[in-house]
Amino acid sequence: MESTIPTQAPFAPRELSRLAALLRYEILDTADEGDFDDITQLVARFCDTPIALISLVDEHRQWFKSRLGLEARETPRRISFCTYTIEGEGIFEVPDASQDPRFADNPLVTGEPTIRFYAGIPLTSPDGFNLGTLCVIDRRPRQLTAEQRDTLERLGRQVTRLFEERLQKHRHAEQAALQQALLDSAASAVLVIRPDGRISSINTAAEHLLGYSEQMLVGHSLAATLFSQEALARRAAMLSSERGTQIEAGFDVLTAPLQDGQRTMREWRLLHRNGSEVPVLLNISAIHDEFELLRGYIVSAYDLAHQENLQLQLQQIAAQVPGMLFQFCWRPNQQSSFPYLSEGVEAIYGLSGAQIATSIGPIYSAVYPDDRAPLLASIREAASSLSPWHFEHRINHPRKGLIWVEARATPLRQPDGSVLWHGLVTDITERKAEQLELDKQQEMNRRLLEALSEAVIACDAEGNLTLFNNTARLWHGLDACKLPPECWPEHYDLCQADGHTPLPWEQTPLVRALHGEHVRNAEIAIRLDGVARHVAANADPLFGSDGQQNGAVVVMHDITERKRIEKLQREFVSTVSHELRTPLTSITASLTLVCSGTMGAVPEYLQELLDIANQNSGRLRALIDDLLDIDKLYAGKMHFSMAVQLLQPLLEQALRSNQAYAGRYCLGIQLSECPELLVRVDARRLQQVLSNLLSNAAKFSPANERIELWAEPARDGRVRVSVRDRGPGIAESFRGRIFQKFAQADSSDTRQRGGTGLGLAISKELIEQMDGTIGFDSTPGQGACFWFELPTYGRGHAKDEART
């Protein structure tokens, strides 16, 4: 029955806005409220209807805020009478619904509650939206009187007014809850104070901070309860004198600055319920209403106890740090300050923290005048580059006098353009003194090196010259140059000991030391303008504190003069020897002739004297021969007639020549073995060597022992010739210099045993010049075995050749 279905109430164009307006009142689906029930009672009684409703119409339904004579809380919108009411203006009245085509089929008409009569007035919000209705319903047809209609209208307006009130109340409650929540969630303690200075509320943080509950404080005077009266009085006196008016030592102390429009932030100590004092940072602001009337104050207290603890910790840490910890705020064109300074400020500057709380002037004045400008410059430099700052300067300390300090800090750019530095200033006076002492020492060393008559040159591990003293410059005629070691000999004109052969760079003493060698008395020559300067060089590797080699140093001593004198001495010895030889020749020859008896018999007493003279002239002759030999050998002027020949005949000849002499001391010489080998020697010089070794052996041999002479093949195709005696052996202390000139184990030996002390030195030179080596083995007390080794030339026949 399509036509009988009640018409769907048409959607007004403003319907969405109306729904929004309805929702704004937050009233749908809320509990019953007496105010509204009073209205429905009144309107039902006055209109004499069994049913009265306050109906609110939303998108799909009408919901009853108050209902009288009806069980249902809501009915679908499409069957609601009120929909019609809210779409019109003024009272909508249906005298008999069963007769009204719009409602005749309505289930509310045909069934419960069998509506016949309906009259409703729209509930219009102040902004003109019909939110719902106040309506009366009867189960019989009827009409409202004019008086009843008027009452319905008036009561409808009252319902709307109640809606508004209700909404305002809700808003206030919310606001209050929000306010409390805000207060409670605030990190700092907040106290709300009435204009008269009494506490009206406090938040949870304040309860915790002060140990009171809100109830305990509400209504009490803030100043009297939570402040030390003494502190208030002090502050009151200060403010009074500042402002020139009397300020009471009460709440006024806190609010006075507000009257000047100042927002005050000040440290106070609030009294805790347990009697202790709580350090806080107090901020007070006034609350004014829209009419600029003072409604009270909000006092927020930031707990400084935690911060004080941190401060205390910092102080303790700072006390452990030698020197002064600081935080420095540098503003390019304004007042700079020290937001933090540790106690060390006294030790460094002789100032108290209070003295520099407001100005950095005292610190600046403490800086030694000459250091002030460089100090500022370095601060500016570090502030612009934001690089770590390090500056050493002097401070005029009132107690300690002039001290050296070292400042280190890291600058940090702040958003406001200032630069914040965190750093440390330490007293380095002692270290500085040591440094100065060290500098002095170094300067001394430098002067010493410069004044030294030795040339001193040092280089680092890479071969860069790091020291080149005055003498070095003088000798080389130039200063140190940056050159690789390979170029040193050429650049510095270095030669071998002969004064003209170029020195291979690997043999440069400094290079050898750089390779870890300890060079002792290496003879080289430095040439300058064609003149050679002979030097003895001592060079050593240099090691760093880590034990790693980090360079080398050479000290060169001028031995040119020494060498000249040595040469003169040698020439003198040579000349004298030559000159001695001539008279000695005649003396020796004469004595030989006389003593031989060939000139006729000599009386026995004369014979003895002549024998003594003859023997000693022989010794003198040997000495002179040796001196001349060694001179020739060292000068390289000894002539060698080298010939390849069999070794054995040479040994046999030596045996024959020395047998008689040896016989005077011991049992004689025994040639035990000799391989059939060829050697290349100057026969006469080899005899000289063998005679030396054999006569030495004879001199040190015990009387009933024999001297052994033998030859045997040695390594590398060489032959070793050995002479062994059974004497006392070679003393440990003598071994190192046994082959040196005039070396004798005991200086008294010369007289006891005869000999010149040149024999072994000559033998060594002779053997070496014949490409051989000489040496000895000895165990003290078990005799000595002297040997030499010579290259061999196979077996066969001798060939003659000569060599210069």
Binding site: H578, R581, P583, T585, S586, A589, S590, L593
Partner: protein, 128 residues
Amino acid sequence: MRALKRILHVEDVPSIRIVTRIALEKLGGFEVLSCASAQAALAEAQAFAPDLILLDVMLPEMDGIELLRQLDKLVDLEQTPVVLLTGHLDQAQSAELGQLGVRDILQKPFDPLQLPTQLRTIWKAEHE
């Protein structure tokens, strides 16, 4: 082979000259002409006609080598064997020595007891 008999001895140092002469005459039984200088030797050598010349190299005014050169030019002396007595010899001169008749060089100081034997040995070698 004729025996070695006449020796011309040149030595500027008197003491050595005397000792040498004694050794040669008394030990060796030679006939000796001792000259104190090169000039004296040059003046008397030809007349003496020595079998062998014993010469000290270091002579004042004219040294032994120069003396040999001069003697070498004299008739009858070209083939005369020469023995040098010296403590020192300049190596540069050694090449020429054989040409000038030098047969041996004896080191100073020499052993006077050995000298006659040494000279006879050289003489013997000269005539083999």
